[in-house]
Symmetry: C2
Subunit: 110 residues, 2 copies
C-alpha cells in the first residue's frame, strides 16, 4: 500500500503571480494605473485624483511604471511645465486585473 501524496508544483521563480506582483505589487501602483486608465493624465491631475499619496511616492511610482514600460511619459517644453502620462499597450493589458479588483471591492467591501 503506497502513501497517497498530494501533487504539489512549487511556485517560485517562474510563478506568474509572483512575476505580476513584482511590477504591480506596490502600495500605489494599481491605484495609479486605475486612475490613468485608458485616458491621458497630467501629474497634477493624478495628484488630485489620489489625495492621500505623497508627491515623492507618486513620481517614484510613475518613474518605475515608465521603466517597466507600463506607462509613457510626455513632457512639453512649456512654462509652467506640462507632463502627460498614459498607459502603454502593455499597461492597458493590466486593466482587466484592476477591473476585477474594483468589482470585488464594490461588491464585498465598500
Amino acid at each position: 500500500m503506497e502513501k497517497k501524496e498530494k501533487q504539489i508544483l512549487p511556485c517560485d521563480e517562474g510563478c506568474p503571480v509572483k512575476a505580476s506582483l513584482k511590477i504591480l505589487g506596490g502600495k500605489w501602483t494599481m491605484m495609479i494605473i486605475f486612475q490613468i486608465n485608458d485616458d491621458v493624465m497630467r501629474y497634477g491631475e493624478l495628484k488630485r485624483a489620489i489625495p492621500s499619496i505623497s508627491e515623492k511616492m507618486l513620481i517614484q511610482e510613475l518613474n518605475m511604471l515608465v521603466e517597466n514600460k507600463l506607462v509613457t511619459k510626455k513632457a512639453y517644453p512649456e512654462i509652467p511645465p506640462r507632463v502627460e502620462y498614459r498607459l502603454t499597450e502593455l499597461g492597458l493589458k493590466t486593466l482587466p486585473i484592476i477591473n476585477k479588483l474594483v468589482e470585488f471591492g464594490l461588491e464585498n467591501l465598500v
Copy 2:
C-alpha cells in the same frame, strides 16, 4: 471663453481599489490564495508550494486571511497536528482577480 477643466473624482477612502488592496495587497497574500485555490491545503503543503516564503510570513499571512474571512482554518486534534486551510465564499470571489494576474503574467512576463 471658459477654461475647460477635466473632471476628476478623487479616489480616497471609498475607493474600491484601495479597499481591495487593503486585504489583498500583502506581498504574499495573493500567492497564498492562488495556491489554495478551490482546494484544501495543509500548512506544510503550502510551505512546499511557496518555497521562498518563510514560516513566519506564511503563518502571519494565514492568520490575517482567517481574520479577514477569506480563509477558514480547521485543526484536527491529532498528533502530529494537522491543519487544513481552504477559501471561504468570500475568498473564492477573489479568484477572478488572481486568475487575471496569472493570465497577465503568463502572457507578458514569464
